[in-house]
């Protein structure tokens, strides 16, 4: 069985990190632990795009000594991109050990709307479930209620739920690396 180590890249609300761990333990029935946060990743800052290169941050996170049976989930407030795309909500190694989620575009303020902490947390959880699912080998799901469905806009993210559908749960159970799930 694998466990999930949770960290932050740059400053992130501590309460959010704690609530994420609680959700992961409840939803995936796995162990979680907090590890030391990393500083704001200036090495990954792209001056032309004014964003942070997600692939470079992921590469840096690989050096975290988490152990082979542990997935590392990083949360950040910086706006992420991959070179081909204008932005990403998060990124993960498919069937690998690293996943990162950015809250930058999950804030209502990013869309010129009044802040909403509860909504921010719900969105964060959905994106965390999506990226950690990729780390467990899940690909995008056609069930639009499932957090593993692809969301390229905040509206799509808001439509989906925060618990895996039956198919993805079954696939996760089949995976050797999977946490012990009770469906």
């Amino acid at each position: 069985m694998t466990s999930i180590a949770v960290t932050s890249v740059g400053d992130v609300n501590e309460e959010t990190l704690e609530k994420i761990q609680q959700h992961l333990r409840g939803a995936l029935h796995c162990e979680t632990r907090r590890i030391l946060k990393s500083p704001r990743p200036e090495f990954a800052f792209d001056h032309k795009r004014m964003q942070y290169n997600s692939s470079l941050i992921m590469r840096d996170l690989l050096h975290h000594p988490c152990g082979e049976t542990t997935k590392l989930l990083a949360l950040t407030e910086v706006d992420l991109f991959i070179p081909m795309l204008s932005f990403v909500f998060g990124q993960a190694q498919l069937n690998g050990n690293i996943a990162i989620v950015s809250q930058a575009r999950l804030h209502q303020e990013f869309y010129a709307l009044p802040p909403n902490r509860d909504l921010l947390f719900i969105r964060t959880i959905k994106e965390v479930m999506h990226e950690i699912g990729h780390a467990y080998g899940l690909i995008h799901c056609i069930n639009q209620d499932c957090p593993m469905s692809l969301s390229t806009t905040i509206q799509q993210l808001d439509k989906k739920g925060s618990l895996y559908c039956q198919n993805c749960t079954a696939l996760l159970k089949e995976s050797k690396q999977s946490p012990s799930l009770d469906v």
């Binding site: 795009r49 290169n53 997600s54 692939s55 991109f81 991959i82 070179p83 081909m84 795309l85 204008s86 932005f87 990403v88 990124q91 993960a92 190694q93 498919l94 990729h134 690909i139 995008h140 692809l150 390229t152 806009t153």
Partner: protein, 452 residues
């Protein structure tokens, strides 16, 4: 079952191609990468990718457009998305002109790229589904190598299944080009003789003495030039099937010999005294009415009754017009491959021409017409222009006045002689123009004493 689609990402920048590949893999696609145009072309030669993402500007001699052209040359139906950091109208036009399906500027919106890939895959799924359905439909209408959805033909297919493993002789009656030999083959290959020889003989193509030697073989010295013993078609077909085409054209003597084989299951080689025993199933075919020939004393009635144990009457193509589109598409698929042409389909207007035509030469004439159209076709779809020769034939018919002062046989002789003259004695070409097979033409030449 969902099809696994493969994607190739071609970009000289590692971070660019790997990040795009990783993003596409999360969507469930099998993604390969190539760092140059040359590597992409090499991979394309091994694998057929559904979608290519090709960076426009790449060093190393082959840029994105050249890479795309080479890929298109190898897999014409593939979808190529050109990606570039520099959006200019000229390069966009150049890429689209050379066959790029889409043109995107990096970095692009995740939604844009996701919709793009989904749209292409949706079309590819539909195309694949269409191909599978068409194949299933053809299989549904095919029996051995014969394609038809006509009810009379389906009754024949059922009859073939019932009689395939019997030893009874079969007499197939049908106009030239209706596929009499195909029916004979279907009977042979559906039955328990299928692993044994199937031997076909055109009785009209040979003179009597030659035909006798061909059928029964000859001993050494049986006639001038018989320098060694030779087995005849009956011996070669032992335990299998012999197909005697144009049976109505054999001489009285051969009719007697054939009757003996059918009764005794044995015969003598020409010039031989030793009886040869064989186990051969006889399937005969004719395009003339043998009952009339019997009535006129041209054909032995006892042989007719021996042959006519099971009777199959093949309808002409004009009586099963519903098969024309099915047959035409089947010929296109087979012949475009054989002729190394890239013709994939036929237009509605061209099909209308085929449906309106009377096809005196039946399926063989249709096959020849499709072949001629494929040879001259410039595009991927056969159009009405490609079948204009059929319309010309029709016009000529309209302006032609039938002679009223000669017998039908005289008219036939005149037409055949004129056609052979026109083709400078080329029998194959003359047979195609006349819409009859070569053996029928040889028979008429012999019957009317036409000079070649």
């Amino acid at each position: 079952m969902e099809t696994q689609w493969d994607i190739l990402v071609v970009d000289d920048e590692e971070v660019m191609r790997e990040s795009l590949a990783a993003w596409l893999r999360e969507d469930g696609y099998a993604v390969d990468t190539a760092s140059s145009g040359r590597e992409a072309i090499a991979k394309t030669k091994i694998k057929d990718y559904a979608i290519y993402f090709v960076d426009l500007k790449m060093p190393g001699g082959i840029d994105g457009i050249e890479t795309m052209m080479e890929i298109k040359h190898l897999h014409e139906d593939t979808s190529i998305i050109i990606i570039t950091a520099y959006a200019t109208v000229d390069t966009a036009i150049a890429a689209m002109k050379e066959g790029a399906q889409e043109y995107i500027v990096k970095p692009c919106n995740p939604e844009e790229i996701s919709l793009l890939v989904n749209r292409i895959i949706k079309v590819k799924n539909l195309q694949r589904e269409n191909t599978i359905l068409r194949k299933k439909l053809t299989q549904q209408y095919s029996f051995q190598d014969i394609i038809s959805k006509n009810s009379k033909m389906h009754d024949i297919f059922q009859l073939i299944n019932e009689i395939a493993s019997l030893r009874s002789t079969v007499l197939i009656h049908g106009e030239s080009g209706t596929g009499k030999e195909l029916i004979a083959r279907a009977i042979h290959f559906s039955g328990d003789r299928s692993q044994k020889p199937f031997v076909s003989v055109s009785c009209a193509a040979l003179a009597e003495t030659l035909l006798e030697s061909e059928l029964f073989g000859h001993e050494k010295g049986a006639f001038t030039g018989a320098s060694s013993q030779k087995k005849g078609k009956f011996e070669l077909a032992d335990e299998g099937t012999i197909f005697l085409d144009e049976i109505g054209d054999i001489s009285t003597k051969l009719q007697m010999d054939l009757l003996r084989v059918l009764q005794e299951k044995s015969f003598y080689r020409v010039g031989g005294s030793e009886e040869v025993h064989v186990d051969v199933r006889v399937i005969a075919a004719t395009n003339v009415n043998l009952e009339d020939a019997v009535r006129e004393g041209q054909f032995r009635d006892d042989l007719f009754y021996r042959l006519n144990v099971i009777n199959i009457i093949l309808p002409p193509l004009r009586e099963r017009r519903e098969d024309i589109p099915l047959l035409a598409k089947n010929f296109i698929e087979r012949l475009s491959h054989e002729l190394s042409k890239n013709v994939a389909d036929i237009s509605e207007n061209a099909l209308k021409i085929l449906l309106d035509y009377d096809w005196p030469g039946n399926v063989r004439e249709l096959e020849n017409a499709v072949e001629r159209a494929i040879v001259t076709c410039k595009g991927r779809i056969l159009t009405e222009e490609d079948f204009s020769f059929l319309c010309h034939n029709g016009k000529r018919k309209n302006g032609w006045h039938a002679p009223t002062n000669m017998t039908l046989a005289e008219a036939e002789k005149e037409i055949i002689a004129a056609t052979i003259h026109r083709t400078n004695g080329n029998i194959k070409e003359a047979a195609i123009i006349l819409g009859i097979d070569r053996s029928t033409l040889y028979d008429r030449i012999k019957r009317y004493g036409i000079e070649r």
